[in-house]
């Protein structure tokens, strides 16, 4: 296994562990809102959002599914697995939409608000399917408003942590510039230089929210050099 693959695997492992820790903290928090039974903050989804932006969609999918499976095995049951999986799938769909179609147009706050709303929607859909009744949908309006608030808070925290997370999670060996998801400016720091052979890039491994995809920049530089 190449050193870059080992490093990426290690990063994914750390992200999974951190996401599981956040899930466990959520279970311990006495967050009982009478009008919103079973509401959770969805802190672990912020890890998936960070993985999607800095490491690509494949990394986000890997972190999310491993985290959901392990959390359900350790702390939950089959029913909690169904609800978590449904929320995770909807949240990942929102992540994919954000990464692929909202490049340069939203910050982490927007991504986290969308993912939180879709996560709760997914759990409500799962509850409706499990119970074969539409009663759970009546909690959705209030859930969407509360998830908007918590998604905004977690997104702001990620925005403020953008520079540090970029240094920690972006592979040092690629020549993709680290671009702030908030300001769009490039960071100074380690990185750059010759790219090591890491195989074909997964979609979104260039910074998902840079103004211009890195591959197109490389092509333009090549064309300019050739003239």
């Amino acid at each position: 296994m190449r050193s870059s693959s080992r490093a990426e695997t290690a990063r994914l492992g750390v992200l999974v562990a951190f996401a599981m820790l956040l899930s466990y903290i959520e279970i311990l928090l006495p967050l009982n809102i009478p009008a919103l039974p079973g509401f959770k903050l969805g802190l672990a989804n912020t890890v998936s959002a960070a993985a999607a932006v800095y490491m690509g969609l494949y990394a986000a999918f890997a972190v999310t599914f491993v985290r959901v499976l392990l959390t359900a095995l350790l702390f939950g049951n089959v029913q909690s697995l169904i609800f978590s999986l449904s929320g995770a799938l909807f949240s990942l769909a929102a992540l994919c939409f954000s990464v692929l179609f909202l490049r340069g147009r939203v910050s982490f706050a927007g991504i986290c608000m969308l993912c939180a709303a879709m996560h709760n929607t997914g759990q409500i859909v799962a509850a409706a399917l499990v119970f074969s009744d539409s009663a759970p949908f009546r909690f959705l309006p209030a859930l969407l408003i509360v998830s908007l608030f918590y998604g905004m808070c977690t997104g702001i925290v990620l925005n403020l942590s953008d520079r540090a997370l970029s240094k920690l999670l972006k592979p040092r060996s690629t020549k993709n510039a680290r671009t702030s998801i908030v300001s769009g400016r490039e960071f100074d720091g380690a990185g750059g230089g010759a790219r090591t052979d890491t195989g074909p890039e997964a979609p979104g491994t260039e910074h998902a929210f840079s103004e211009e995809p890195e591959l197109e920049k490389t092509k333009k530089q090549g064309e300019d050099a050739g003239r």
Partner: protein, 126 residues
């Protein structure tokens, strides 16, 4: 700045969706505010029972190995105690309006207030 505009648009979209859903779900239930017009539907797996809200009652439901004690008092319904692990149903506030519900996922029980005539024939369980 462009990104913050995008964030604001996403927030506005979610608020609009929540408002639209709220109008769809709750617009029709505003007129049904008298307890005499409503009944409590108890859904347990594939069984559907109805309880009158006009008379105070206390009854116990068993499902999936869990026991839930439900209290009907003054047209309101709440779960007094349940031995499910997460206690979400116990912490849910009392329901009294049409289409409000209390759900216990581990036990697989839904308590839902509906207009009379929408569920099965009314029986008093206790």
């Amino acid at each position: 700045m462009k990104r913050f505009v995008g964030d604001a648009l996403i927030a506005a979209f979610i608020i609009a969706a929540a408002a639209a859903l709220a109008i769809c779900f709750f617009a029709g239930s505003a007129a049904l505010c008298e307890a005499d017009d409503l009944q409590l539907s108890v859904l347990v797996k594939d069984r559907h029972d109805s309880v009158s809200l006009s008379d105070d009652s206390v009854f116990v439901i068993e499902s999936n190995g869990f026991e839930m004690t439900v209290v009907v008092r003054d047209g309101s319904v709440y779960v007094e105690k349940c031995d499910c692990p997460d206690q979400v149903c116990v912490h849910t506030k009392a329901i009294s309006s049409a289409y409000q519900s209390i759900i216990c996922a581990p036990a697989g029980i839904i308590l839902k207030i509906e207009p009379k005539g929408e569920g099965d024939e009314i029986i008093v369980a206790g």
